[in-house]
Symmetry: C2
């Protein structure tokens, strides 16, 4: 177990790194690491605060041989992805870490990854807690991120409307495919939170969610969200084209090389988690605006289908000709899985 002195070293190190290049630390009313609590610079009068928390536990979310730089990036990225899905601009984050021991090299790499993203996203470390976990205990990193969003303009999960198109950012499946190969992939290890996209979807998207549990599951979340709204009209049914799902380049290559067939690749892309792309609904009138945003950000934005009022509830997967997917594939999708292959 590390001595208290070593933890104090880490605190000092964190304090100096956290401030580097961050406008937060130059605001006269802001206060970072070191007091009982951090103080945020005052918001614009028209803004409100968004808050999200996510915890990564060793042996559950990552393994001891993880690249520490990638882990430092990811623990912040998954939280920033939640802010992106609300259309919030990042304000700052706290990090609580439970460590078995201080391995200087490992920690330095972890913080390199963490602070690189922190600076890129202008989201400074402002506080937290560092403690030793008991011998043999799993290490744990818990992040809470704060963001700001114009009052009443947050992109919620419950706003989907009958007639909306459904869109996804980027491409899907490479993270899940890497897991099945017990391999690594940039999508799995270096997820890019879609903050800039979230900001541009304000006032345009009707509902947004980030894809952490898999596309299929997140579409269901949006449908349930709409149904849970008190003002919800009828039930909503999503009709999606499985051939329109944007497949990651690695998975597409595996299909070309005949290591995977089309259906199987789509199945991986639809059910695989850990993607951190955004899924959103928008009126068909917004199509050209959305394509402009995609071009401006250099980010693929793909329409995968639409939702309509219906007697039934759920997802209807079709092919490019509008034909229903064969029953056994429908079954596999609804069972959630590439794990069955």
């Amino acid at each position: 177990m590390a001595s208290l002195g070593e933890f104090e070293f880490i605190d000092q190190f964190l304090r100096s790194q956290a401030a580097q290049g961050q406008p937060f630390y130059r605001h006269p009313l802001a206060l970072g690491i070191g007091d009982d609590a951090a103080l945020m610079p005052p918001l614009d009068a028209a803004e409100q605060v968004a808050v999200a928390s996510d915890m990564l536990i060793e042996g559950r979310h990552y393994f001891p041989d993880v690249d520490p730089r990638a882990l430092g990036h990811k623990v912040l990225a998954v939280n920033l992805s939640d802010l992106a899905a609300m259309g919030a601009r990042p304000l700052g984050f706290t990090l609580s870490a439970g460590l078995r021991e201080i391995r200087t090299q490992w920690i330095t790499s972890f913080l390199d990854g963490l602070f690189a993203l922190s600076r890129e996203a202008e989201c400074p470390l402002i506080g937290g807690d560092t403690t030793a976990v008991p011998q043999g205990g799993a290490e744990v990193f818990s992040v809470t991120v704060l963001g700001a969003v114009p009052k009443g303009s947050a992109l919620r999960r419950d706003g989907l409307q009958a007639g909306d198109d459904l869109w996804v950012s980027g491409h899907l499946g490479d993270a899940a495919y890497a897991v099945t190969l017990k391999s690594t992939d940039p999508k799995l290890d270096w997820p890019q939170p879609r903050i800039a996209l979230g900001l541009r979807l304000r006032g345009l998207a009707t509902a947004v969610i980030d894809i952490s549990d898999g596309l299929q599951s997140e579409v269901m979340h949006l449908l349930h969200g709409a149904a849970g709204r008190s003002r919800a009209p009828a039930q909503l049914m999503a009709t999606l084209c499985w051939q329109d799902v944007p497949i990651g380049p690695r998975l597409r290559q595996a299909v070309s090389a005949r290591q995977r067939d089309d259906h199987e690749a789509v199945c991986i892309a639809i059910t695989g988690g850990d993607e951190y792309e955004l899924l959103f609904g928008a009126s068909p009138h917004e199509q050209s605006n959305i394509r402009d945003i995609g071009r401006h950000l250099g980010l693929a934005l793909t329409k995968i289908g639409s939702v309509a009022s219906s007697e039934t509830f759920g997802i209807d997967w079709r092919d490019a000709q509008g034909q229903p997917l064969a029953a056994d594939w429908q079954q596999r999708l609804h069972n959630g899985g590439f794990r069955h292959f």
Copy 2:
């Protein structure tokens, strides 16, 4: 390991409990558990946000046989104590929990303790994360609490002025004494965050800190805070009367029963952690205001000494006659402790 279904049950349970009786959940722009992020009701234009995070780890901060109600109370209380020390009013908190398994009875008791304090402090649960820890891993609870404070009025650690009196709330030592006896005590298990006191110290106290590491150590934090200020004049020396330190009733009883002597009791009170009282500095002109606040809150507020500009830096412990403490006791205090007895 608990199944996903059980964790979903917990999420549902949390959601219904979190909202109960909390004004937060009635605000039209607020959003609690269930979306990608929570949304705080907009602040008053004159306010800024304070944020603190604390993590409790099994085997480190508590043992598996802990009273789960007390643990639920404590994980929120230690965070609220940080807000109290900033003079902030609580807004809400997130809870991330890593659990080995779902023990329904245990979790229900834990949440009873958590939500009782949450309602009392009008500080609702607004989000978080629940995950399974690997077999054999330590359980972990990580809380981040948000508060609001008038712009520029937060009670910081770095404001102590030469001439200030030093005060402590409540009484000290019973928590640490319970630990030495391997026993329990309300001070140890049910710490009361001094939120109402913190609010009343705004504009009155020059510097405030909560006593989590022991009085001696926190006085040093305030002295270092003042020294670290760019506008700091000279060094500060605190002259404190050890007989004025308010000793807890249980420790006082042990002295009466001659199980402990005076010096030893004070030593426990001065060096013991886990007290969660407030230590603060204030101008001597504020003495009667401070005594009024104490009477109004029904909370003992005790002046234990004062600070002055000095060639030297640190704490000078005196007795009621102004005589320096015997060298061996000075040494024991500076070594931090009752552990040596």
